[in-house]
Structure formats: structure tokens, C-alpha cells
Point group: C2
Chain length 545, copies 2
């Protein structure tokens, strides 16, 4: 038996596009004499469809795709994820289902039992969990269909769940497992995934075929990394990260095992590839080609420019250099050098005149008030206005260049440097931004060395440094990581050896700046806990604030 895994980039709500892509893959697989082809979880409608699932019309469109796929499933079986209707009155209206399509018909449907409802996941908002578990017979083989999370409660060891779907199928003696997933990327997630898949194959002593999505849906990035696991737990193949592909496997060979293929897992390379993928798909799926951003001469905007040029091509990236009276000479020089290294169109628009105009308009109202944040922010907002003017005039998407450390402590101007349709590095801590810069420069110096080595500054007042108002990033980032990603308490952090005053100050900054993050662009997610839909915090909350 020959099994094809199709690791594809779906597009939420683009039924026609997703269907065309799958029909194309079915033709390819049939031409290779495959017996079964497997697509991803909710592949008809894309993942996560979120509240579109509440629209009956949306579900009907998914049903229509299933009909067309069933019709194409002649001479080959098709395994594909789609929402399906719960026929009972009680419980949620839908199941998250794996369809087994064969000879023009729906031969079998297996629903998902373990519905992730944490972080970015809201599955219990929409779906009723499965209570029945049955293998499907095809060409003399008994196949256990399984959906994503259903593999993640092996031996009932996951405290979130009380059922282990594959255990429930064991008395039906499946010959192999097909798992269709939509498992998002985080830079440290692949090892865990491999561990779980190996453990599943070993427990049941049968082959496991795992197919994942690839590509990004706004902030959520799917890395692919689909896998074929032999009964002894050997990873016979791990498909490439961040690439669509179809691969074919002979079931007997998988039973035999005997080789192990794993993708390389360098942290910075993965983050880099994920961000490029996220950028590419955000533009592609919205139907945009061109990006604009402000180059300050600092490291954050430099990195975003390089990533954008990689994702979209340097001809599609335009940058503005907008020095203010407080910008240092090297800022413009460094930024210009970077733009020239990249080959991007750049323009220099000094904002002093606009700044002076605002000062005149405000003079009588601000009389006697000392220079403060208000004047700093005016500069950032003039830049935002200029960038958006280009965006509106020429159809660029403005890229937000804020890093995760700044997002965390609110070091940024709402409607100023926090403008932009997509936050590219909002899930990358400042200390990691430096690592990423080194990675981008690994072959040649694209980002001028001075941009990497100079002390970070917003340059919104004379001789300003980030460290005037924030701790040094190598002190700040470990506290942020422990609090945001590990949910540590102030006392935990103090017990770890962090300075108490610093801990309280940092945690307070994080919590009182929720209002800024609420209005910031979606953030490409590369860790297990990114700002945005996976971290839901009250704005008026008074905890540690």
C-alpha cells in the first residue's frame, strides 16, 4: 500500500483555493499510484477558522468541498479534515472531523476527541468532543484515523484530558495510524512533537503517518515537519519545514523502518524561516505585494527590513528614513547603508519641520510644561503618519518593528512606532534580536556592524538611551521570559535570584501596558507564548499593577 502525505499551505475561508490545491495533489498522487492521500486538519476551510465556524453558510461551503473531494477520490482514498455536523441536539453543533473518502463517497468519519482550549486554541468554543472511535477498513487494512491533539494524551498522561482516543481503538486492531494535524510552530516545539509521535508508534507498535499544515494564517505559523514513524519509533522521514510538498511511502517499508531522517533544528534558523514564511503568507493571503517601514538606524527595523526583503523581494520593500532633531548622524548613515546593502528604495524625509509645526500649534496650550513623553511621542506619530501616507497612496502594508521586550514593557508609542499591519518580531526578545542579526549577517554583512553594536536608543530626546528608562535587556529579558512564558510569580522570581525591586517594576510595566498591546498589530508567533490571541489579559486588571 502506498500512502501520500500532502503537506500544504491552506488559506482560511478560501474554499476554492484550498480545494484546487487538494485536487491537484490528488491528481499527482494518482499518477504515482498512491492508494491513499492525506491532507491536514480542517483543510477544506483552513485553520483556525475561528468564528467563521458559527456561520452555517461557511460550514455548507466546507461540506461542498468534501463532496467534490469525494468525487475526486476514485482509484485513491482521500483523508481530509473538515467541520462536520453534530446530529444530536445536545452539545455543540459541530465536530472537528477526519473524513475518509473513497470511490465518490464518504466511507468513514472520525471526530476529534481532545479539543485544545488554551493559548491560541479555542476548539471547545465550536466543537463537541468525539465519544466514538472506530477504525476504517480499506484494501484489507484497518486504519486508525486521528486528529492532531488526539495523539497528545498518550497513556492518559496529559493532565488536560481524561480519554486517550487511540487506546479506545486498540480492540479493533488497527494496522496503522493516520494523524491529520494543524500544529503551530514554536521554535522549541519540534522536539516535543517528535517525542510524542515516537511514543505513540512505540506504544501501539504500528506505523504512524502524521501530516501537518505549512504556511501562516496571520500570526499563526505552521512549520510542516510532517512525519512517518516506524513501529519501533524510528522517524523514517520528517518532511521539510516551511515548504509545501507531497511525499510517498510504501507501507511495507515503513513497517521495516531502518533509517532515521530528521530536519536540522537550529533555533535562529527556525525563527528566521518562520518569520519569512509569516511575512510571505500575510502578504500573499491578503493579496498585497509591497511593504513599507521606517528605518531608524536601530537594530529592530534593520532586521525587519532584511526579513521583508527576503520574503517579498527587495524591489517590494520601500523604507523611509525620517530623522528628527534628536537623531544622531550615524542613524541616517547606518540606515542608508543598510538600504543600499539590501537594494531597497529609500527616501529621507526629515521630520523637523512637521515637529516644529506641532510645537507651534501646541505652544499656547503647553505653555510652561516641560518637555516630556508628549513631545517624544509626537515625533513617533509624525513618522507613523508619513509611513501610513505612503501605505495609503501606493498600497504598501506598513510593517511594525517592535520587539517582544518593548511590547512587554510598553516601550513604544501607540499610533507611532506601534503602527503597522503586522508585527514581525513582536515575539522575539531584544537579546534574541541581536542573535538574529548575527544570523542574517552569516554570509556577508547586510546589517552594518554599527547597527548591531551601538547602544539601543529611541532618539526622541537628546542623548537618549533605552537604558535610561529600562533595565539592560540582558537583565530584563530573563524576567520577562519567566513571567510571560513560565507564569512565575514575583516570589518565584525573587527566589530565582532576581532583584525584588526590579522584578516588581518589570511585572508592573508588563501588566499596566496591556492597553497598548490590545491595539498593536498581530504578532508572528515563534514561541509557546506570544502576545496576541494566545495571551488574553484584562485591561483594567489590577494584578501586580
Amino acid at each position: 500500500m502506498k500512502i501520500a502525505l500532502a503537506q500544504l499551505d491552506y488559506h482560511i475561508g478560501n474554499f476554492e483555493g484550498n480545494l484546487a490545491k487538494m485536487l491537484d495533489a490528488i491528481r499527482t498522487a494518482r499518477s504515482q499510484d498512491a492508494d491513499i492521500i492525506c491532507f491536514g486538519e480542517l483543510a477544506t476551510c483552513g485553520y483556525p477558522p475561528r468564528d467563521f465556524l458559527e456561520f452555517d453558510d461557511f460550514i455548507h461551503l466546507a461540506d461542498a468541498s468534501i463532496e467534490k473531494l469525494a468525487d475526486a477520490a476514485r482509484g485513491i482514498a482521500v483523508v481530509v479534515g473538515s467541520p462536520s455536523h453534530n446530529p444530536r441536539i445536545e452539545g455543540k453543533d459541530l465536530f472537528n472531523s477526519a473524513y475518509f473518502l473513497s470511490e465518490g463517497k464518504v466511507a468513514h468519519v472520525q471526530h476529534k476527541a481532545l479539543l485544545p482550549t488554551y493559548d491560541i486554541f479555542d476548539e471547545y468554543r465550536y466543537f463537541e468532543p468525539a465519544t466514538e472511535f472506530n477504525v476504517v477498513e480499506y484494501k484489507g487494512k484497518r486504519i486508525a484515523l486521528s486528529i492532531c491533539e488526539d495523539l497528545w494524551n498518550l497513556g492518559n498522561e496529559n493532565p488536560l484530558y481524561t480519554i486517550c482516543p487511540l487506546d479506545e481503538m486498540q480492540d479493533q486492531q488497527p494496522d496503522f495510524i493516520l494523524n491529520i494535524s494543524a500544529s503551530p510552530f514554536a521554535h522549541d516545539h519540534a522536539d516535543e512533537r517528535i517525542h510524542v509521535l515516537k511514543a505513540n508508534a512505540e506504544r501501539y507498535k504500528i506505523p504512524l503517518f502524521y501530516v501537518n499544515h505549512v504556511g501562516a494564517q496571520t500570526e499563526i505559523i505552521f512549520d510542516g515537519g510532517s512525519m512517518v514513524v516506524a513501529p519501533n519509533g524510528t522517524i523514517l522521514d520528517e518532511l521539510p519545514y516551511f515548504e509545501e510538498c507531497i511525499r510517498f511511502y510504501d507501507l511495507d517499508e515503513v513497517f521495516r523502518g531502518g533509517r532515521e531522517i530528521l530536519q536540522p533544528k537550529d533555533k535562529m534558523a527556525l525563527i528566521h524561516d518562520a518569520l519569512v514564511c509569516g511575512l510571505k503568507d500575510y502578504f500573499g493571503k491578503l493579496g498585497f505585494k509591497k511593504a513599507i517601514l521606517g528605518l531608524s538606524g536601530g537594530i529592530d527595523s534593520a532586521i525587519v527590513a532584511v526579513l521583508a526583503a527576503e520574503a517579498l523581494g527587495e524591489d517590494n520593500v520601500r523604507v523611509l528614513l525620517m530623522p528628527s532633531p534628536f537623531s544622531s548622524d550615524h542613524s541616517v548613515l547606518d540606515a542608508r547603508q543598510l538600504a543600499e546593502n539590501l537594494g531597497c528604495q529609500y527616501d529621507i524625509i526629515p521630520i523637523e519641520k512637521a515637529y516644529q509645526t506641532y510645537m507651534e500649534l501646541l505652544e499656547s496650550h503647553f505653555l510652561g510644561q516641560p518637555f516630556n513623553l508628549a513631545e517624544e511621542n509626537i515625533q513617533a506619530r509624525i513618522r507613523g503618519n508619513l509611513l501610513m501616507a505612503f501605505s495609503n497612496k501606493f498600497g504598501h502594508i506598513l510593517l511594525n518593528t517592535t520587539n517582544k521586550s518593548e511590547m512587554a514593557v510598553g516601550y513604544g508609542t501607540l499610533y507611532g512606532d506601534l503602527c503597522g499591519g503586522l508585527s514581525v518580531i513582536g515575539d522575539v526578545y531584544k537579546t534574541e534580536v541581536y542573535e538574529l542579526a548575527r544570523y542574517l549577517n552569516r554570509h556577508k554583512e547586510i546589517i552594518p556592524e554599527n547597527i548591531i553594536t551601538k547602544p539601543p536608543s529611541a532618539e526622541l530626546r537628546p542623548n537618549q538611551k533605552d537604558s535610561d528608562s529600562l533595565p539592560e535587556y540582558d537583565e530584563l529579558d530573563p524576567i520577562l521570559y519567566q513571567y510571560i512564558e513560565k507564569h512565575q510569580s514575583p516570589q518565584d522570581l525573587i527566589d530565582m535570584g532576581f532583584d525584588e525591586k526590579l522584578v516588581r517594576r518589570v511585572l508592573r510595566l508588563v501588566n499596566i501596558n496591556e492597553f497598548k498591546r490590545y491595539q498593536t498589530a498581530p504578532v508572528l508567533r515563534v514561541t509557546s507564548k506570544a502576545f496576541g490571541m494566545g495571551r488574553r489579559m484584562p485591561i483594567v486588571g489590577k494584578y501586580l499593577a
Copy 2:
């Protein structure tokens, strides 16, 4: 037996404040010889605590409050909601629980079974549902404790759920029901709530005491309306909307019933009171006093100014009039008249000079390009910058004045008129905005008549009208309502008699503008489906786009 219902305004994460308020109420109730006092669902930590619940430290603080309340529960029993720990390894870590505290101890804990996970609710993200249901005995009475949604599956008729918690307790023959809730306001929700409570009392033929939160947590507004229902379904008392209060009831009198007290339910009065409550609590809970907003001379900003003056006092509301070259004469006159009627501080800052400066900065870049959206948006963003400059200089919170119709179709400038910390009328359709204006003018003309009667215009180009680029609002709003609140499909809408071309155009506008709403301030929620946390849509989604 004397039972006290304490309808209070809690504050998320403000354990000290919530505790002090409850201790105070316990003292009052004890002085009135009450036997039991009831507080709201998750009253220790406020509702909804969202992902704060994932922090062990946060839960420990809630536990500490329970200890202190238990200690105060001497000579009086205290019923209060708080998260509690799930002692089993399987399942979520927490329960959403009702504590029964008496004589310094936790006498009983009943967990919530029906965990709303839809719209603004995420309870299954955090909580394990109850599987055990027991009454608590106190002073010879058997009391059925129940939490909010647990009343909402009467006779198993709610398709979302498969269990009816109070049915499970019936063999223990409870004498009465105490339900602690956190049930948010929507202008049409009270009737439904009354219906459900009546039906519960009638089904079990025992008194039902229902206590709700009052006050707002960012976008979510609790209206109170706590109730006492006699065994025959008569509403013996409905507590006031949008007011904290403690009331006392003699159990024997409740058994007798015999009177019905209901609050008036005029739609515009309710929306008005809810918005004032939302404004007051947003400022109060963040520790701010003063608001600023731009007065355009249009009806939306006029309404927000009046509501803000009511909520915060006219001395705490400052308005800016910022005419552009495209503003009509009457705009400034109307806006000034309104500011004078309100007695708010106002300043006129013409933006022409700033606009000209931007035009000069952009001249060489925009050469040969016709005037379009870019130039329109520059004006809106200059105003945003000026307003934020005042906000940053003097500590005002900027109020967003966008209405629901504009939010829906993206008729607004991101980082321009979409600026602001709180969207006051973002859940009020434009056609309702007019009704609300009439309501605000019910005693005397605060909003000048001309503001209400002139055709709506953004005034960002010569002689512009909203109807140049949008359908008339009385055509637009019914389509928006059916799509957003009722999830109707294009075909449903066409079948209702709406013009097909218009339907497709409007639905497309709604869906392609998700990116703007993602970056807009939290919206005070007054309907069953507001933009924001209760409506979760993909940005790159291609459905109807």
C-alpha cells in the same frame, strides 16, 4: 431566615479592594441580623479574570481572600464565588466555585458545571466542569448553591449542554436556591434572564435568590438586576440596574410571594446607563479622572462628549475642535455650541498648517498622484496626534468616537479617528446613535439640533458625505445587524429582500476590515454581539472577502 443579596462592583485582580468591599457588606448584613449574605461569581478576583487564572500566584491570592472571608463569617454565613483547585490530576486545574463559609470555616463548596465557552466567555479554557452536586445544610435549611450558567439548561433544553445541575440536586430536596452570577449586560438580555429565573423557580417550586455583578470591566458591563423569585415564579424583587446595593429578604416572605417588582426596560435608557457605567468604571478602575476627545461637529463625537460629561463630570472632559481646510463653517459652530452647552473646556486648533507641512514633505514623493484616501487620512492622523499629545501631556484618556456601523465597514482612519483608549459607542449602530441623541436631549437641547439633522460627513475632502462611499445608514444597519448579530448568509439576506449587490458589497467590507478592528480600542458592549473579544475573526480569512 434573613438573606442578604450584595450586588457589588468588583475589580479584576484587586483582591484587597474586593475583599474590603465584601467585609464591609458582611458588617452591614450582620448589623441587620442577616443569616446569609451572597456575593457574586468569582467575586474574590473579579470577572472575567481571563489568563490571570493561569498564574498560581493569582489563585493563591483568591484563596487568601476566601480565608479572610471565612474568618469574617461568624454569626452569618457567606456565599461567595472564587476559583478553587481541582485535586485530581486529570482535567483542568481549577473549578469555578461557590464557597459557603460559616463560623470561620469552609462549610461547603459547589463547583460550576455549565461553563460558557462562546462569545466573550472562555470558561472551558480554565475550568473543569462539576460532576458532583450537593446541597449544603445551614440552620435547618437545605440550600442548593448554583453558579450563573448552571441555571440556563432548564429541563435540558439548552442545546449547548447535557446536564442540568439543579435537577441533580432534587433528590436532596433543597429548600431554596442561591445562584451567584456574573452575567453581562446586553440591551435585550434582561427579559430573557427574567424568563429563565421564573422558569427555574416554577420548576422546582422553591425560592430562588439570584445575585449578579454590577459595574464594568473594560468592555464588559454588568447591569446588576439581581432577583428574588417566589416559588410560583413571581419576581418578588429585581434590584436596580447599574447600582451597587445590598438588600435583605425574609425567607418566609419570599415563600409567600404576592408582589412583583420589575425595573423599567427602555432600550435607549438602558444603553445610556450602560455606557455611562462603562465609562465611569474604565476610568475609575484604571485610576484616571480626565477624558479628552475631538469634537468634529458630527453626531458621534457629540454623543460621546455628553456621555463622558455625565460619567466623569464636565470639568473632567476636555474637547478639541480641529477644523481642516475641508471642514464646513457649521461644524465648528455646532461643536462649540455643544461644548458650551456641556460646560467643557474646549480649544480650537486648526490643522491646516500641519496638513500643509505634510503636503510639502510629501510633495516630491506624491508628484502626479491624485488627491485620495492618503490625504484624507493625513488629516485624521494629525488630529489623532494632537489629541494624544494632550493625553500624554496632561494625563487624559482619549475617547474613541466610532460607531458600530463605521467599525463594521471600516469607515474610519486607523491611527486617526480610530485612536483612543476606549470605544464608547462602537457597539451602537449609526441609526441608534440618532435615537441616543434624542434620548440625551430629552430634558433640554444639549446636542444642537443641527448636529442631529445634518447629513453625516467625515469632511476630509470638499463637500464629502458618508453616503458618497457608503449606503444610507438605514439601508446599511439592518444588513449589518443580520450578518453580525444573526450570522445570516448572503443568500439568507437576499431572501429577506435586501439587494444582492448591496449585500455582497457590505459583507465584503465587513470581512476585509478585520485588520482595522484588530487594532481598535476595546468596545463597550451593549448588544449580544459586539466587536472585540466576543467576535473572533481571522484577518487573512477569505470568506466573503
